[in-house]
Symmetry: D2
Subunit: 308 residues, 4 copies
Amino acid sequence: MAISGVMRPGHCQLRVLNLDESVKFYTEVMGLKHMGFDAQGRAYFKCLDELDHHSLILRQADKAGMDFYAFKVRDKATLEQLDADLRAYGVATERIPAGEMLETGERVRFTSPTGHVFELYAEKTMVGNGLGFEAPEAIIDGRRGISPIRLDHWQIHGPDLDGSRDLFVKVLGFSLVERIKAEDGVTDVAVWLSCSTKAHDIAFVRDERANTLHHASYLLGTWEQVLKAADIITIHRVSMDIGPLRHGITRGTTIYAFDPSGNRFETFCGGYDFYPDMPVITWPFEEMGRAVFYHTRQLNERFLTVVT
Amino acid sequence: MAISGVMRPGHCQLRVLNLDESVKFYTEVMGLKHMGFDAQGRAYFKCLDELDHHSLILRQADKAGMDFYAFKVRDKATLEQLDADLRAYGVATERIPAGEMLETGERVRFTSPTGHVFELYAEKTMVGNGLGFEAPEAIIDGRRGISPIRLDHWQIHGPDLDGSRDLFVKVLGFSLVERIKAEDGVTDVAVWLSCSTKAHDIAFVRDERANTLHHASYLLGTWEQVLKAADIITIHRVSMDIGPLRHGITRGTTIYAFDPSGNRFETFCGGYDFYPDMPVITWPFEEMGRAVFYHTRQLNERFLTVVT
Amino acid sequence: MAISGVMRPGHCQLRVLNLDESVKFYTEVMGLKHMGFDAQGRAYFKCLDELDHHSLILRQADKAGMDFYAFKVRDKATLEQLDADLRAYGVATERIPAGEMLETGERVRFTSPTGHVFELYAEKTMVGNGLGFEAPEAIIDGRRGISPIRLDHWQIHGPDLDGSRDLFVKVLGFSLVERIKAEDGVTDVAVWLSCSTKAHDIAFVRDERANTLHHASYLLGTWEQVLKAADIITIHRVSMDIGPLRHGITRGTTIYAFDPSGNRFETFCGGYDFYPDMPVITWPFEEMGRAVFYHTRQLNERFLTVVT
Amino acid sequence: MAISGVMRPGHCQLRVLNLDESVKFYTEVMGLKHMGFDAQGRAYFKCLDELDHHSLILRQADKAGMDFYAFKVRDKATLEQLDADLRAYGVATERIPAGEMLETGERVRFTSPTGHVFELYAEKTMVGNGLGFEAPEAIIDGRRGISPIRLDHWQIHGPDLDGSRDLFVKVLGFSLVERIKAEDGVTDVAVWLSCSTKAHDIAFVRDERANTLHHASYLLGTWEQVLKAADIITIHRVSMDIGPLRHGITRGTTIYAFDPSGNRFETFCGGYDFYPDMPVITWPFEEMGRAVFYHTRQLNERFLTVVT
């Protein structure tokens, strides 16, 4: 049966140091479509192929990072049910009225054990991808920059990884797909969770720094587009992190770089499809190099330590 | 939430005219792994990347075509529930005992309005893909022939398309993703249905010939592998149908050819991900050319008429 | 040693039925750069990656087809030498003064045995590809339409194939790379000739229709770009011929369509590198299907018969 | 006109520390075809697509590195001419008799100013690629490991870069394609030279260590095959250097690793075609990062310093 419950990452609100510079970056380099501003001055963006009004909101602030991460759920009944389930689990929830965010219905907001603020919502205006739903063309032409297909997932860091993992699995219906164990062979240092057939919709990493963002990730269609993303990053002199490379975890092929505020982003392609009858894949601590960087099989200081 | 209910196409039993020749074809040209024979003389195959014991069974017979199409469901409770739902809907079901098919649990069998025989099952031995579930490698080497990732879907033909469509949507939890309308603009001549985030797990086409198979489809990872499939088809002088090409429907890129018994198969890549908040895509009758053959925008006699 | 003598196809002058429509087509769909018009009203174009001022000239006329085909030669001394060699071989030559064609030096013009008009030239203004020659970027961004790398070769038809073949091999220093034999097993019905390490810089096909053009061909970088060309062709409703496909001859992967005047063009990728110590590859007449259409292994009426 | 004079890298003799281990490596991981041993115990290899008997010879020794680098020339007359030209230029030459190396004609051997030993030869037995020269198939199936198309070029280091550069350009007919300048803006620290339409057939780097090898390079067909090479390198736990990445110089996409003896190899794809009317591309010293590593735009200690 098609996805029910929590469906996918829906939007996220990113703090940027200079809004004008960031609007330019996300439009020209990332190739997102700028959908406008709201009364609070927040800038809204969607990927060209996305159907909903926006998936990225930028808010100017003094410190980079992510304000909150939102998932779209199947319908209003699901939203109500999940709100009740969260509260029954002991998680305080808050309602953000419809319209507080442009084109978005009521949001149920809560804070996870790792300190991250999450939202669930059921309604966002569907603006379409320009192709329509009657005998559509197969491609969207006139793309610029990296031009990913959609906001795909986030990797976020915080101390109580077990708490966030359990919340997502037990209450929000996520499945554990892959995990890296600590040296003790028991404790999870990182988990990849899916609410779909994607290898992951979110990843948590144990880190003493609560409520931090490792990266927001956008989907590309092919390995050739990962190369193009790398080339675009270079011609625009974007601050590079690492790539092109393949991850052992999820098998995805990817490149990481930093937006003008130092928020890390990923543009990736591939990986296997997850079905819930698949056993969890476990990486012992000593295999972390190959897990993260399948080709070099070594960890990278910046990749491990920089978060916003 | 991850897939529940009906998860994916699980296995199908194909009638072949010469078993030895077909075992050779599916091993050397398709690149499947031959898992052995059962006491009835049926040959079992899996794609290298698949985790379950088999997805294709060959049975020697006088006439090509497909005996039955099976979907794997989430668990035994789901199997029981769907069996009850089918009967409540007026569809007679039959239980095939565990073990009748190697390594497979009990199957619930029913016949659809289009005359096709379907099965649902919850259990099949997981033999793995050779990579294991601890710090696995990212690729399976030593592949031969076309070597697809998995059995992906089928396109099947029969008269009561509405009946099968309604059964799959109302009882089995499938979603309607795309449809082609008849000249009257109302009647469906073809429907693409998904039980996952795939653009389709099965497609039905209206055809006076009940219980026929248009093609069984296998997934490839990239457009480059579609080219390789086409080259493999040529070097083995496999009977070609059409491709490489792109479909307007689902946007998948693909090639079609015939196995030694004349059963059509497809090896394809790509297409968008389906979420249940997406509107149905509709193709008017006059757009059928571009819907099926996006590049040539014309239909092809053989593709429209040959079924087994 | 690097290419000497005749180096590569340099420019060609194509007759189009409607200049405005064609300028739009070659700019928006083909993605060439329009370099302007001359006093005669001819429109000039270059591919983005090409360094010289232009490779395609359009001249409005009542009948589609190609006025002439020009090769760039190594230097003026080579030009003089080839002029002398042609005349010594019995081929009348004519000098077209520098500047008759914008930004182009003196041209030596002659007519081949198949009736085609050829030119040789040594000088054309180098305008560059926008990247410069100091620490250049690796990609040109902002491409539109199909956007090929360069004009690559032509396939042209005429009766005295042997005459044109011998002229190109004996006088112009081309190498015979591949050939298709007639049913008699002796006569060449088609030849692929190279003046470089390309599998061909020109192909001649025996045809009672003298001085005709089968196609002008442009190079793409990858098979993925061939798919994109096919998609671009569809979204612009360009008149399709055939593809994506692979040729047995040269192994190139390609797609063919028609410009608004009915002139066939090809956008292709790949093929092996030719070195002059390679034996000629010969295709018997009965293998012509696989030679031309490697996957379908069958000839196509329109592809065989339509020329301009 | 097709390539004349020096045509391409023809063979090289690599010193390996353990012959058995190296034969296994070059067969299973690199995917070359082992052609046998000679009376001296040297192992011979060819890439599957190459037509000549071999392009790589392994000789067991106590120290890794390359014994000599050989280019194939157009014919015996060219060989004689180049021998004379070398001697006229003041370079001592030596004749190695036909048969000293299996299946190879007489070789003209000389030492370049950078201390590297080079050979020129005109004859090597053509064993073919298994496809034949009559109506051949377009692909070679049953490949294993990385399976490159051909030996493509070498990057070698030594002190008198100017001397080797001038020898290759003035006597051997190579063209200077790209260069990196020293901080003084005048001195070449590295040069890329071509004897064909390849962006380079050899590269020299100024280095106080005479007669050293940076890498031997093999050609792949696509960026997807570069990813596959990277995956193969990982599954065999080959000692990695760096990649996948793109070079600013030549634009090639590539990956570098070390054979079991520590000799670095490259498997790459792409880059532009060189014609001798192209201006030389120059990289100022401060752009060396982007020149070598286009995406990270930073140099890498190991890549700069490790040679054999």
